[in-house]
Symmetry: C2
DNA sequence: TAATATCATTAGTGTAATACTAAAATATGG
DNA sequence: CCATATTTTAGTATTACACTAATGATATTA
């Protein structure tokens, strides 16, 4: 019915990305830590996490939260779209900081398949303007 | 505080665009007509219109609705972004219909200034894939 | 003009995402 | 075992969206 397979809201996107970046060491995040990262109170963060769990994107036990396989894929997809769009904007002449902000407005909406095609069109840059690798193969 | 100057929701965008396209002859739209175009019931459409009025984008009297100057500008801006993004997607290899659907997901979010820069980067096409003029100067 | 049909509007619900406070339940560490 | 920290529940609020049902207003037309 809906647009994306992994249809996430803005805040859910924030949460996915934070989890993706903070659990690379295989340690889960604590609720309060997530709340701090999102800049909201713990009950609000808990709410977001419950929605993610409901969608099969995260799992939690006693305040310890991890991404599922599916959540990990969703997060990487979002990052790919983000960095692709960011690169497009920068190549077009949008200042780096502005590009990042703008990319964050759409990175959870634009389809990964579209982003991959755009990526090719703009010359398959390996890194986004911030220097982060774009493809999920060469992760930091 | 927010992202866009003319920050409109998805449904408000739909309403703006419908009004823009259906009031070219300077005749206002009726509520029920708007409701039909949006595929919602009149009370729902009325609600959307009230939000637009509140934002200074539309005016209505006795069920007759028109865009304000500001609303007209907002609608054109959205169309410019839509057609630009659509063109980008098509040039990248996304099928036309798909491109249109995807563009509709972001045309009310991406900034006009960004779109103008992207437009230049992709070679300043005069028309979108559907053949509609992109620049607001040469309107149909 | 009066009756009917059409259209607009109000009122009342309901869902989803977002966010808060306050309080209660659970850990955790001494 | 107690104090602190953390999680969780409960309750409230806002915005966008959408509905039904009822009411109000305005036509059209018989």
């Amino acid at each position: 019915m809906e647009h994306k397979t992994n249809d996430v809201s803005r805040r859910e996107r924030d949460c996915l990305v934070v989890l993706e970046e903070e659990t690379k060491d295989n340690f889960p995040m604590r609720l309060h830590q997530i709340a701090d990262s999102l800049g909201v109170k713990p009950p609000t963060a808990l709410n977001v996490i419950k929605r993610l769990e409901h969608k099969g994107l995260a799992r939690s036990r006693g305040g310890m939260v991890v991404l599922t396989e599916s959540g990990d894929r969703a997060a990487r997809s979002i990052l790919l779209v983000h960095r692709t769009f960011e690169s497009l904007l920068c190549q077009s002449g949008v200042p780096e900081n502005s590009a990042c902000v703008e990319a964050a407005e759409v990175d959870f909406i634009i389809q990964e398949s579209d982003a991959r095609l755009i990526l090719k069109k703009i010359g398959n840059p390996k890194y986004c303007p911030h220097g982060k690798p774009i493809s999920e193969r060469d992760r930091e």
